[in-house]
């Protein structure tokens, strides 16, 4: 099977026509994992036995003509901060390195109800804090396009797994761009849904008011398919929004003539390599498709990173407090009293980046600094939201590059956290505002993929997917990583 044959849509056809069985498929994917993952290091935990068992069941059911779920027999890889019942969920952290959740996240329940098969858990930046998947306590995932480069982060494992053809699709999570940025670095489609559209129940929180689960797929249609399965109201998540379930495949292929597109000028500053010229090319593509493209402004976007790097660590400092050595088994063996138990367990269990953010967050929330940092940042958050609201009064969607540059080298930004944080510059605004956005490949720069970001207003996933679909068809991006070079 060639690369583009590995989309959900194509696999579904093959399974339904009997060309392959689910067991064949699972075995095929594990073969690829055995072949490539030593070099890519995308997976933290494999679920081979369970996956094959499930595949057999599904094949049996299919043979008997029983009703099957929409993703029946299709493999999926899951970012290791999404709880999977009975399957280790580590957040790539030593502090819960052996934690096995007793329950499934709602998205996992949804995938299981659709008969998708979980083949493994993928690497991430520890507790999803990072932009390169280098802060994982266990391994550094490589970019399948060039293994000397990072796959992006924090969902780097999920992106690399799909890009290296070890899974047809995967789930990641976003707090500041952690699906779109690795999608961009790895030449994939990555969608960050509207806050509240996909249940967060079971997603181990980084920053609750930003976090959202999103899919990595090979193409836009697949993203729509996955959204059909994972989106929807969940009574277990108080921030989940009660609304009619939507079919994201409906209207996907409609044309986009007359579409009003805004390009935030602030998002075009500091672009590297071919990113700028590709952006200009993309604008032309949209114009060819009959859309009206206009430069515009999101005046408060300059405060995005600062706002994000105050609010997200603040919430994180609280969300991570539960890992205190009392529960979850991992505990310092060297303490004399309870306070020492807390301190030493956390000092030994958390990595440097996590500690840095806990410190920042604790500082920003502490009395005396709360007003100057947390509260101020909340106010700026409102301004940034208002920018988007105002923009969507005039434009159907906004477009920009997803990242300033293509994937950087492993180790390149490790000693400079601020430079690392800059990787999220064009993605954080979306998370701050809670609106949806997708990244799709739009070209190459030095043989590394470049992502185009399409941003919509709240709950306009269908529109974003429709726009992305048209764009994808028009540019016909077919390049794939040369896995022959992967050792």
């Amino acid at each position: 099977m060639d690369y583009n044959e590995l989309s959900i849509t194509r696999l579904k056809d093959k399974l339904e026509s009997g060309e392959v069985t689910s067991v064949d498929l699972i075995e095929e994917y594990f073969k690829r994992i055995e072949k490539y993952d030593n070099s890519i290091e995308a997976f933290l935990t494999l679920n081979k036995e369970e996956a094959l068992k499930k595949a057999k069941e599904i094949d049996e059911k299919r043979k008997n003509g029983e009703q099957l779920g929409y993703l029946a027999g299709i493999p999926v890889a899951i970012k290791d901060n999404i709880s999977t019942k009975g399957l280790k969920t580590t957040c790539a952290s030593n502090i819960i390195k052996d934690y096995i959740p007793p329950f499934d996240a709602t998205v996992i329940e949804n995938l299981k109800n659709a008969d998708a098969i979980i083949i493994g858990k993928t690497n991430l930046d520890e507790f999803a804090m990072g932009s390169s998947t280098e802060t994982s306590a266990f391994q550094i995932t490589k970019n399948p396009w060039d293994i000397s480069r990072v796959p992006g982060g924090s969902s780097g494992g999920s992106a690399a797994a799909v890009a290296s053809q070890m899974a047809p699709f995967s789930l990641g999570s976003e707090t500041g761009g952690s699906v779109r940025q690795p999608a961009s670095f790895c030449g994939l489609v990555g969608l960050k849904p509207t806050y509240g559209l996909v249940s967060r129940y079971g997603l181990i929180a980084f920053a609750s008011s930003f976090d959202q689960i999103g899919p990595f797929t090979r193409n836009v249609e697949d993203a729509a398919i996955v959204m059909n399965v994972i989106a929807g109201y969940d009574k277990m998540d108080s921030t989940s929004v009660k609304r009619e379930k939507e079919n994201y495949l409906d209207g996907l292929k409609n044309d986009i003539k007359g579409l009003k597109i805004g390009v935030p000028k602030e998002y075009l500053e500091g672009l590297e390599g071919n990113v700028k010229s590709q952006m200009e090319q993309s604008i032309k593509t949209f114009e060819n498709l009959g859309a009206e493209v206009e430069m515009m402004s999101l005046p408060h976007s300059g405060y995005g990173l600062e706002t994000y790097y105050i609010l997200a660590p603040s919430e994180a400092s609280s969300n991570l407090a539960r890992f205190d050595g009392i529960r979850y088994g991992n505990r310092s063996s060297n303490y004399n009293n309870t306070e020492e138990l807390f301190v030493k367990t956390r000092s030994e269990g958390f990595g440097e980046e996590v500690k840095r953010r806990i410190m920042m967050g604790t500082y920003c929330l502490s009395s005396g600094y709360y007003d100057a940092y947390y509260k101020k940042a909340q106010e700026v958050r409102t301004l940034i939201k208002n920018d988007f609201d105002k923009a969507f009064e005039k434009y159907d969607i906004l477009i920009s590059p997803t990242t300033l540059s293509t994937a950087f080298k492993i180790g390149e930004k490790n000693d400079d956290p601020i430079a690392m944080y800059q990787s999220d510059k064009l993605t954080v605004g979306v998370n701050i505002a809670g609106v949806p956005a997708i990244s799709i490949p739009c070209g190459l720069s030095d043989n590394m993929p470049i992502g185009l970001q399409i941003i919509g207003k709240n709950f306009d996933e269908a529109k974003i997917l429709n726009v992305a679909y048209n764009f994808e068809k028009e540019i016909n991006f077919k390049q794939t990583p040369d896995l022959g070079g992967v050792k």
């Binding site: 969920t89 934690y99 959740p101 329950f103 129940y201 921030t239 009392i326 979850y328 929330l365």
Partner: protein
């Protein structure tokens, strides 16, 4: 020198909802450790809290009963601190927008009625429980984690431990009346913290406020306040001051002990709980809850005065607790005399309950059985004194009074002939008492009556015994 005491209270009361504040686990007391738990109340990674609407309703109910303003817009906040039994490393509580603000509770003082103002009432989750084992280990039971609480904070409006006690009693009574909490202190469903200091009224000098934490009975609360009051005054008199600290009360020693000084005041890093959306509370909802409120103690007392023709004192005592009032009303519904019932309840029953540290609902007999007892006494079948004996029996054995009277042969002897025989027998046996009486020692009469009662095991009608002995001695 004259000193003024200043007391403010913070009361935590467990709400009697069936399920916990953020999940559907039971709130039932007891159960094997860690059996009433799910991923949410254990705060497992990835689990999310969803606010139980009943908790908000109960909070509003309490606010209305205490005359508070109910917020139309409220939210939950996180209070961050480390404690082994705190599952998430933070407690979900309310900070700057509590569910209820203001309000008051009226108490009786030497100088008449006094309003004690409330600062706020808010809702929050309870934490787990640490159990310290003998070998120095700590065991954790999370059954209580996520049980809903309301915290009621008073203004420092109380000026004596007595006023504080009245406040606590009134508060408990109202919470029980509106059925938002059973206020069982022994099960930890009502806990109280005290803030206390003293002002020298002449110099205006104030002692530094100390906090006494986790008082789990009214008795220890009062004792702790009295101890602190004395300690503060003594220090002031010595020209010293108390320090800002948290103390606990040692019931056995009868004194408070410093737990920690407040110098390293905790910074709870409160911020809005991002996992729970803000709440809009409509006036319509508030009004519906207001309409559902039951008769409150004050109204019940006034009704008792009118309906049962009781003195104000009786009515107040009987309505101080919802269950006592209910017991009284059930009793008199069996057509017994209102005042007799009141007297027996206020006297014998309340004394007994207090001695045994029991609640009305723990009594082993019904209001019907109690009404039967009153009827037996009123009919003259047994004396008041035997009646009290039967009541004691009922407390212990929980038996039907008719059965007790029958089984123990306690029916009063009203037959003059029968009594006269015993009187004669007694007089024969006690010639010296007759002599004493004739020499003017009136006590002898009482002794002789007592002897007759003893012989009849209290069953002889004391009026008749008295009458017969007086007659014979004077003849």
């Amino acid at each position: 020198m004259s000193y003024k005491t200043i007391i403010g209270l913070e009361i935590h009361s467990e709400l009697s909802t069936n399920s916990k504040i953020f999940c559907s686990c039971t709130t039932e007391y007891g159960g094997d450790p860690n059996t009433h738990c799910c991923p949410i109340c254990l705060g497992l990674p990835g689990s999310l809290p969803v606010l139980n609407e009943k908790v908000v309703e109960y909070g509003i109910k309490a606010g209305l009963a205490f005359n508070s303003n109910i917020a139309n817009h409220t939210k939950m906040d996180r209070k961050n601190y480390y404690y082994p039994d705190l599952v998430k490393g933070y407690q979900i509580s309310q900070y700057d927008k509590p569910l209820c603000e203001g309000g008051y509770i009226e108490v009786d003082t030497e100088n008449g009625k006094k309003k004690i103002n409330l600062t706020r009432i808010h809702i929050e989750e309870d934490t787990g429980k640490s159990i310290h084992s003998k070998d120095g280990g700590t065991l954790l039971d999370y059954n209580r984690a996520g049980v809903p609480l309301i915290e009621i904070v008073s203004e420092p409006d109380m000026n004596s431990p007595e006023e504080a006690k009245q406040f606590l009693e009134k508060l408990k009574s109202v919470l029980q009346y509106i059925e938002v909490s059973d206020c069982k202190m022994e099960e930890g469903s009502l806990r109280c913290d005290v803030n206390i200091n003293i002002v020298d009224e002449e110099t205006g000098k104030k002692s530094t406020i100390t906090e006494i934490k986790n008082l789990n009975s009214f008795k220890s609360a009062v004792k702790a306040m009295e101890f602190e009051q004395k300690r503060h005054i003594e220090l002031l008199e010595k020209g010293e001051d108390t320090v800002r600290e948290t103390r606990r009360y040692d019931d056995l020693k009868g004194e408070t002990i410093s737990m920690r000084t407040k110098e390293d005041a905790s910074d709870y890093r409160y911020f809005p709980e991002p996992d729970i959306v803000d709440m809009e509370i409509s006036n319509e909802w508030i009004e519906n809850i207001r309409k559902s409120l039951p008769e409150l103690p004050e109204d019940k007392m006034n009704r008792f005065i009118k309906q049962y023709d009781l003195p104000e004192y009786d009515a107040e005592v009987l309505t101080a607790s919802k269950n006592l009032a209910l017991f009284y009303e059930d009793t008199v519904s069996h057509s017994v005399d209102f005042k007799t019932a009141s007297n027996l309840i206020m006297g014998d029953i309340l004394r007994r309950l207090k001695d045994e540290d029991m609640e009305v609902e723990d009594m082993r007999f019904s209001s019907k059985e109690f009404a039967d007892l009153i009827k037996i006494i009123d009919s003259g079948k047994i004396s008041n004194k035997i009646g009290k004996k039967v009541l004691r029996e009922m407390f212990e054995e929980g038996k039907d009074p008719n059965k007790i009277v029958k089984e123990k042969g306690l029916i009063q002897i009203n037959d003059e002939g029968e009594i006269e025989k015993i009187v004669d027998e007694t007089l024969d046996e006690n010639p010296e008492s007759i002599e004493d009486y004739k020499n003017g020692k009136d006590r002898a009469l009482g002794f002789l009556v007592g002897q007759v009662m003893k012989k009849t095991r209290g069953k002889a009608n004391p009026g008749i015994v008295n009458k017969l002995i007086s007659k014979k001695l004077n003849s």
